[in-house]
């Protein structure tokens, strides 16, 4: 039984924003797969919930005229996975989507909830980091757009101001066009599990060289992160096993892994080094490059 004191539903973003402004106590609920778990665990008591589920406009996925891919915050992972356009343009994201939870969870969990929950293990986050995603936030007064890298502040903490709602996730054409990518979710189980490490790598290949590499990691620190040093190193390098090896090593330098009963720092770092190489290897092929042997 859940400790719910009040429950509101908004029909539009404007209405939701107004309600939020009026009642600062309101807690947004999308699919509820994080919110309800928190309530079950007693971390959220006497909740007053504002549901976004009736706002159909937030489920929209489309490409803008300028080529920007816009994903509504209320798009579920099932919808994202089955979206033919996304599968074609940004398959690394649809892969991440299907790696998440199990079918029932994917049918209800939203990408907006995944991002706003602020977990380093969020399966969409590593890919969104690698894709330089930007987040459109709206409140009663207006809109703003923030890069996802500035959105994550700490474990469970995101840069949502009081009254703000995430409405869209934006991926610019220069960040995905011509890129190949790969997401590896390393978890103890093949489904229904939280990643021990999530690695999303995207790259652009030119004449056997890396034109650009971007690596997003989940669970390699308190928030999802990028491996800027490794990315910088990769730029212009010939794609060889040695290069990949070096990228793997450098990727570890950007991490802030720690030892917990779930996994040791040493093991996590080892995984970062190994799986970054594996992800990038596949990304190269997906970007049209030759397989590295």
């Amino acid at each position: 039984m859940y400790d719910i004191k009040a429950y509101y539903e908004a029909e539009s973003v404007e209405e939701a924003a107004r309600l939020l402004a009026e009642k600062p106590n309101l807690k947004l609920i999308a699919g509820g797969t994080d919110v309800l778990i928190k309530m079950h665990g007693g971390q959220l008591e006497e909740a007053e919930l504002l549901s976004l589920r009736k706002i159909k406009s937030l489920e929209n996925i489309h490409v803008r005229d300028d080529g920007t891919v816009a994903i509504g915050a209320m798009a579920t992972f099932s919808v994202i996975f089955h979206n033919a356009m996304l599968k074609k343009l940004i398959p690394v994201l649809t892969e991440a989507a299907v790696s998440m939870g199990g079918p029932q969870i994917r049918n209800i969990a939203t990408i907006g909830g995944n991002v706003c929950n602020g977990a380093t293990s969020a399966d969409s986050a590593s890919s969104l980091f690698a894709l330089n995603a930007r987040l459109k936030l709206q409140d009663e007064k207006g809109e703003r757009v923030v890069p996802i890298r500035e959105f994550y502040l700490g474990p469970g903490k995101v840069a949502l101001n009081p009254g703000e709602i995430l409405t869209e996730i934006l991926i610019a054409p220069e960040d995905y066009l011509g890129f190949g990518g790969q997401y590896i979710k390393f978890a103890m189980r093949e489904a229904m599990d939280i990643a021990t490490l999530g690695v999303a790598a995207v790259c652009k290949v030119e004449n056997g060289n890396f034109a650009e590499v971007r690596i997003g990691l989940g669970v390699a620190g308190p928030t999802p992160l990028r491996c800027l040093e490794a990315e910088e190193y990769a730029r212009g390098k010939k794609i060889t096993a040695e290069t990949l090896k070096e990228i793997g090593k450098l990727a570890v330098r950007s991490t802030k892994a720690r030892t917990s009963w779930r996994a040791s720092k040493e093991y996590r770092e080892h995984l970062v080094e190994e799986l970054t190489q594996r992800a990038l290897k596949t990304a190269v092929v997906n970007a049209g490059g030759a397989e590295v042997v």
Binding site: M1, M188, R189, A191, W261, S264, Y267, H270, E274
Partner: protein, 788 residues
């Protein structure tokens, strides 16, 4: 023998009920005005309760009762009818101090064979994190939860012993004052002269092996509903494997006569041994008594069930084996330390049962088994599928693999040299092996996995992903004889149309026993399955006496009663037919709803005609029924083997099981599809045991770290490969229709087979399970395998 229904994959008796949602589980029942109970658990692994203030909790609107250890005797006195308070459990201590034993064993008239009485319904001394300190009854779950937070308890923390090493240390505090050195029991055995046998062996091989604490994770958590009926009796509906035993233990816990308790078992969502124990029921009864007998439902959450019911014992083994160069094993010496957690439960019998069932596999001149069952301040370990055998077989089947490597002998041949044969008599309990298909099981498994071809293929591997093959054997038993009483009860009533109701004391908990019992009855009476109506609910007021579902006993032990009951009905039907036709009954038989001539098959009359006669004959009417108890003073030994193929990722430490086959000799298979289901479930469980599952605790505080299904890595269907199940049907002459046990056996041998396959793939021997990625990575690093 040729049967018509036995041996066929007929669909489950409860398939439609379950698929349509008509099958009712405890949570589907409610009573008018039903209240909800919740438990306050100890946050300390070892602590004394100095004081409890419940005033704030009681003041919360919606709270009907708050109960602490101080209230228990009062509740008992207030509700017991004068003169019937009986301190059955313990004579020497007063009612206020009533302690009881929880293990689901049949009662023993011999006091020295009874389980240890060490539990209070609510305790003043917490012995693990999760121990029951207080309870609340409220109008709804939310109010009850809020009330729990308002109970103020002052604890005095005591030193927590979270490992068997700490518990055994000189001067360690005692978890139970009457158990020296924190040892619950140390009953082992010696056969032959072990010193001599080891001495005269060509090789002496030693090894140490370790298993972990795991949990049953049955789908349906513990749940019960208790109230006092108009007859002033306590009625408890509960998700249990052992209704008749629950009745006895609740009565003992409350100090009332056994007849004043009625237990009802509806459909059950799995148990795996965890419900062969009494957990929530006595407290639930007390909750109802505290509110004047009103109905109270008590349901554990997953987080509670994982620490406050039972777990599987973690074992540490030291094995020393003397072997001759030809592979003949002369002597085996096994030392075992078993972590039984905070209370006795089944602890004393699990170490000894594992050591007992192990004896039926290999023949040696000498065998010494020295188990120590040790208390710690961790959750209570109890019965779980396999009951000590998955532990000992993990150790020994790993050990024998190590022996084969050291002696450069083929692991399969080494086993075959030492296996028992039909006719073997156990030197300690005189059990006779009357059927033994282990050799055929091995040959079949070897063929199924294409052992020889793959072995050749995987000889020289250098890559990141390496493959290997492994196998392991086991022996088990069909029920607990000669250790405990093995009563089975069955009752049959024939209807006017020749169909029957079958009442059982044996409990269906998902394994399919109702179906196989119905098949037995259908076979004997020559009627189709749809004419056998199984009463799936056990109600101790109504159902025949039978101790329930455990020890893989039901098809064998309760099946004997069912067969007898059906034969009695058959005899009565044929007697009626004889009275009507004057054909001697011994010339008649029952086939396809007809009474037929045994030899020719000629139809004499429809079964229905005889049944009608039995109801309505003006002179001799007497409806046909039978009510049978069978006391099985015999056992039959099932065997089996696992063959596994794995692929190991040397860099990440991940083990992938590519193929796995379990081949069983469980005697005659009554229902192949259900039997396969048992094997699939057991092997799946064993895969978790081998590579991913472990309940973790903070070593300092005893705090459980992963008592939820996110952090406890129970495998999903995506983690389980297709499981091959095959059977070698060595019919046992003692079993009904030649059956032997199958319920628990599938879980016994996969873990060592997987371990041996990993060894084959990588050359690294894992002597500790689970082999989860981090451990595998670390061990590879140690062995110099992870080269970056």
């Amino acid at each position: 023998m040729a049967y018509t229904v036995v041996g066929k994959s007929v669909s489950r008796a409860d398939a439609v009920a379950k698929v349509t949602g008509k099958a009712k589980y405890t949570d589907d029942f409610s009573e008018r005005g039903m209240l909800v109970g919740k438990i306050l658990h100890s946050p300390y692994a070892h602590a004394l309760v100095k004081s409890i203030d419940v005033s704030k909790a009681k003041a919360l609107p919606g709270v009907e009762a708050v109960i602490t250890h101080q209230d228990i005797p009062k509740i008992r006195y207030a509700t017991a009818i004068p003169g019937v308070i009986e301190a059955i459990a313990t004579d020497e201590v007063g009612v206020a101090e009533l302690k009881y034993a929880t293990a689901g064993h049949p009662f023993s008239l011999d006091p020295s064979h009874r389980d240890k009485e060490d539990r209070y319904i609510l305790t003043q001394r917490a012995r693990f994190i999760g121990d029951n300190i207080a309870a609340v009854v409220a109008t709804d779950a939310l109010t009850a939860s809020k009330a729990l937070k308002l109970i103020e308890v002052e604890y005095e923390e005591l030193e927590a012993l979270t490992t068997t090493e700490a518990a055994l240390k000189e001067g360690a505090p005692l978890i139970h004052d009457d158990c020296e050195r924190n040892i619950l029991s140390s009953a082992g055995y010696v056969i032959g002269d072990i010193e001599q046998a080891l001495k005269e062996s060509d090789h002496l091989i030693e090894g140490e092996y370790e298993t972990s604490i795991v949990q049953h994770c049955h789908l349906e958590n513990q749940i019960s509903l208790a109230y006092v009926d108009s007859d002033r009796r306590i009625v408890i509906m509960t998700s249990t494997q052992i209704p008749h035993i629950v009745r006895r233990i609740v009565a003992q816990a409350l100090g009332i006569s056994w007849g004043r308790v009625r237990v009802i078992k509806p459909y059950v969502g799995g148990g795996f041994g965890n419900k062969q124990d009494v957990t929530v029921e006595p407290l639930n009864a007390v909750m109802s008594l505290a509110v004047g007998g009103r109905p109270v439902k008590l349901e554990l959450s997953r987080e509670e069930a994982m620490i406050d019911t039972r777990t599987r014992h973690a074992f540490k083994f030291k094995i020393k084996t003397g072997v001759n160069s030809d592979g003949k094993i002369n002597g085996i010496q096994i030392e075992a330390v078993s972590n039984t957690g905070a209370y006795a439960s089944h602890g004393h019998s699990i170490a000894s049962s594992g050591g007992g069932k192990f004896r039926y596999l290999y023949q040696t001149k000498a065998l010494k088994y020295e188990p120590l069952t040790v208390f710690t301040n961790l959750p209570v370990a109890g019965a779980m599928r396999g009951y000590g055998t998955p532990q000992i077989f993990f150790a020994f089947e790993s050990h024998i693999e190590d022996i084969s490597r050291k002696l450069k002998l083929d692991p399969i041949e080494l086993r075959k040299i030492n296996l028992v044969e039909t006719g073997h008599v156990d030197p300690l309990n005189q059990t006779v092996i009357r059927s033994c298909g282990i050799r055929e099981c091995i040959d079949k498994g070897k063929e199924l996995i294409k052992w020889d071809a793959k072995k050749a293929l995987y000889k020289e591997q250098k890559g990141v992903k390496r493959r290997g093959l492994g196998m392991a054997c086991f022996s088990y038993a069909s029920g607990t004889y000669p250790v405990a009483l093995e009563l089975g009860g069955a009752r049959i009533v024939m209807n006017q149309d020749g169909s029957v109701q079958l009442q059982l004391g044996a409990t269906e908990i998902g394994q399919g026993s109702d179906t196989v019992f119905a098949q037995m009855v259908a076979e004997v009476l020559g009627i189709p399955m749809h004419m056998v109506h199984v009463i799936s609910t056990q109600d101790t007021d109504i159902s025949p006496f039978d101790t329930g579902s455990y020890a893989s006993r039901q098809t064998y032990v309760s099946g004997m009663a069912v067969e007898k009951a059906a034969l009695e009905v058959k005899r009565k039907v044929l007697a009626v037919a004889h009275s009507m036709t004057d054909i001697p009954a011994h010339l008649l038989d029952l086939k396809q709803q007809h009474i037929v001539m045994k030899e020719s098959g000629e139809r004499v009359m429809e079964l229905e005609v005889a049944a009608m006669q039995s109801y309505y004959d003006r002179v001799h009417a007497q409806p046909i029924t039978s009510d049978v108890t069978n006391n099985a003073r015999i056992n039959a030994i099932p065997y089996g083997v696992t063959f596994a193929e794995v692929e190991v990722d040397i860099k990440t430490g991940k083990i992938k099981i590519l193929e796995i086959f379990n081949v069983h000799d469980s005697g005659k298979i009554v229902n192949p599809q259900l039997a396969e289901g048992q094997v699939h479930g057991g092997v799946g469980m064993a895969i978790g045991y081998a590579i991913s599952e472990q309940l973790l605790f903070d070593e300092k505080t005893g705090q459980p770290l992963n008592n939820n299904l996110l952090d406890y890595k129970l495998p999903t269907i995506m983690d389980i490969p297709e499981i091959g199940a095959a059977f070698v049907e060595k019919e046992d002459p003692t079993g009904p229709f030649g059956v032997k046990a199958l319920g628990e056996p599938p879980i016994i041998s996969p873990a060592p087979a997987i371990r041996n396959a990993v060894l084959d793939a990588t050359g690294v021997a894992f002597n500790r399970i689970p082999m989860n990625p981090q451990r595998v990575f670390e061990k590879f690093k140690e062995a110099g395998l992870t080269l970056n």
